[in-house]
Assembly symmetry: C2
Homo-oligomer: 236 residues x 2
């Protein structure tokens, strides 16, 4: 029987690539999307599709009752505008949901423990280190130590992209044959990717850097070049 892995699967480029990677490594997969009150559920439709395509289990964990108490974040508070530009911009601080990774991982480890999984995986990467303390190695190592004590058993926390950036993930996606058109990154939930929000800019940049012809339809396909070549635009 295949060893079982629980994967935080948002439906974006990073976690979808991670999902394909673990499938290729022979794990029986259980994808978990976390509903923390995102402005839209579009990502989750893509996550569900990915899980179905790979014959994996899939569930949505509803943490909205926690995050509705976390009133400071742009992602969960619809009164706050989603900032444009790239992640380095100070305004992106608004997209921080306090303690989000701890919450999502604690849920994933509970599920993993209850179904005898050997591994929990998350697609944190170095591009998130600057703003998000809960995407850094120090956090990941301490979380693992905490989980070992919590469960009185070892379930591995796997974060294979921890020390690489989104470009390396895009290259891994190419290697694994991940259908990029079936991943969703945009913070806004329009018919197509907007091309202007932080995740769109980062996505388009990473795919281009990886030398892949980007199949994504962006409403504003040229914006990311402007931002990445002239950061002052985003910061003005």
């Amino acid at each position: 029987m295949k060893p079982r892995a629980v994967v935080l699967l948002s439906g974006g480029l990073d976690s979808t690539t991670l999902f394909y990677r673990l499938a290729s490594e022979g794990y029986a997969l259980h994808g978990l999307s976390v509903d923390y009150g995102q402005r839209h559920r579009k990502e989750m439709e893509f996550a569900r599709r990915t899980a179905a395509r790979l014959g994996a289990a899939y569930d949505i964990v509803d943490l909205t009752s926690v995050t509705h108490l976390l009133t400071t974040s742009a992602l969960t508070n619809r009164a706050v505008e989603v900032p444009e530009g790239h992640y380095e911009a100070e305004t992106m601080q608004l997209t921080v949901v306090p303690n989000r990774n701890a919450l999502m991982l604690a849920a994933a480890f509970g599920v993993a423990a209850s179904e005898g999984a050997v591994l929990v995986a998350a697609a944190v990467h170095s591009g998130d280190h600057a703003i998000y303390p809960d995407c850094r190695r120090d956090f990941i190592e301490r979380f693992q130590a905490m989980q070992d004590a919590s469960l009185g058993a070892h379930i591995e926390l796997s974060t294979p992209y921890l020390d690489v950036d989104k470009v390396a993930i895009a290259r891994d996606a190419r290697r694994l044959g991940v259908p990029l058109a079936d991943t969703w990154s945009c913070y806004r939930g329009g018919a197509d990717h907007c091309g202007r929000c932080g995740t769109c800019v980062e996505r388009a940049w990473a795919i281009a850097q990886a030398g892949i012809a980007d199949p994504t339809v962006y409403e504003d396909p040229g914006y990311w070049r402007q931002v990445m070549e002239e950061p002052a635009v985003a910061l003005s």
Copy 2:
């Protein structure tokens, strides 16, 4: 302005006493009950009442969508009978919700971070150490270390009852003038405490050991003496 503390407040004897203790120490309190799919919501009514009495904020955090995935526990799976007897009995393993404290504390720290609280408190005590790894000092210390890394800031995890048993908590309740009749322990959600489930037995025993006249109405008021004096009864 008073420093703010977020407290996991189930409505039981332990957390209610902790709530009174922190109020007496001058904190502005925010009580959080966690709905993890308990068989009844009676505890939460008591928690809400306690918070109201002390002029504290109060919220229920709904984690049922996580715990419905955790199918092994008697607390969340109504098809499994609640075992009788005291906690040491092996059957009480059934009442373990995997990773429950990690989940509840991660939620509490998210709330604490978002509202500028300086402290998160939980009423774990030594009586829970034998069965629950996530009630032991090792877990608590690693959880604090993880949270410091997660938030990039220190919010104290306070567990003043970590090294003492429920008798010491009952004594603290007496010292603080906690109205014991306004706390609820029974796993079953009847009109009165059943007197036979693990928490009822432990409650009645601790209150008696602390030399307090127990105001609790038990359906079977003598059962706890039988169990605590002759453990074979519970194990048969």
